[in-house]
C-alpha cells in the first residue's frame, strides 16, 4: 500500500518538475518563466521528498524529508523574489503582451529607489 502511495507521489512530483521545465523553456519573458519554475518546481521537489519519506517509513528519514520539504517551500519564494526584484530593477524587458505593470510608476528604474511621493506600503 505504501509502495503504491510512494509511486504516485514520485510520478506526480516528476510530472510537476517536467511541467516547470517546459514552462521555463516555452514562456515568453523572465517573470512568466519564474512563475513556472518557482511554483511547479518547488511543488515537484517537495512531492519527491515526500515520496522518499513514504517509501522508507522510518522516523529519522521521515523527519529529515519533512525538514527538506519545509526548507524547499520556505526558500523558493525568497530566491524568486530576489531574482525578480534584481531583474526588474536592472531593466529586463517584459513580454510585449504585458497589460499591468504596477511597479512602473512607483519605482524609478534608473536610481533603483522609490519615486518621491509614492509610499512604500
Amino acid at each position: 500500500m505504501s509502495g503504491v502511495f510512494s509511486s504516485v507521489l514520485m510520478l506526480l512530483g516528476a510530472a510537476f518538475m517536467l511541467v516547470a521545465a517546459i514552462g521555463v523553456f516555452r514562456m515568453p519573458d523572465l517573470l512568466t518563466r519564474m512563475h513556472a519554475s518557482t511554483k511547479a518546481g518547488a511543488l515537484g521537489g517537495g512531492l519527491l521528498l515526500l515520496a522518499v519519506a513514504v517509501h522508507f517509513g522510518e522516523l529519522g528519514i521521515t523527519s529529515r524529508a519533512v525538514a527538506g520539504v519545509a526548507f524547499v517551500i520556505l526558500t523558493a519564494p525568497v530566491a524568486a523574489h530576489m531574482i525578480g526584484r534584481a531583474a526588474y530593477l536592472t531593466g529586463v524587458p517584459l513580454w510585449e503582451g504585458t497589460i499591468v505593470d504596477e511597479l512602473r510608476e512607483r519605482y524609478s528604474t534608473r536610481s533603483r529607489t522609490p519615486n518621491p511621493g509614492t509610499t512604500q506600503d
Binding site: 509511486s7 516547470a20 521555463v24 519554475s37 521537489g45 524547499v72 530576489m82
Partner: protein, 95 residues
C-alpha cells in the same frame, strides 16, 4: 516479492528519472539560450531543483536513505547560490 519490488520501485523510479532527465534537457536549453542573465539564473535554479528531485528518486531506486541527506544539502547550497547570483545581478545593468 520480486514482482512487488519491480512494480513498486523499479518502474516508477525509472519513469520519474526519465521525466526529470527530459526536464533537465529543457532547463539546460534555456540556460544556453538566455537571452538575459536573470533568465540563466532562473534556469540554473531549476537545474539545481531538478538535481534535488533526482537525488530523491535515486534514494528510492537504490534503497539508500543516505541520498536524502545529499538532496537536502544540495537544496541548501542551491538556495545560497541563487541568492548570491541575485545580488550579483542587482549590482549591474543588463547589457
Amino acid at each position: 516479492m520480486i514482482l512487488e519490488r519491480l512494480t513498486a520501485v523499479f518502474v516508477p523510479t525509472h519513469l520519474a528519472l526519465a521525466m526529470l532527465i527530459i526536464a533537465l534537457f529543457l532547463a539546460f536549453a534555456r540556460l544556453l539560450r538566455g537571452p538575459t542573465l536573470p533568465d540563466r539564473v532562473v534556469a540554473l535554479d531549476l537545474v539545481s531543483t531538478l538535481a534535488v528531485g533526482m537525488m530523491a528518486a535515486y534514494a528510492v531506486m537504490t534503497n539508500q536513505p543516505v541520498f536524502l541527506d545529499v538532496a537536502i544539502l544540495l537544496a541548501l547550497i542551491a538556495f545560497l547560490g541563487t541568492v548570491a547570483f541575485a545580488l550579483y545581478v542587482g549590482k549591474g545593468r543588463i547589457p
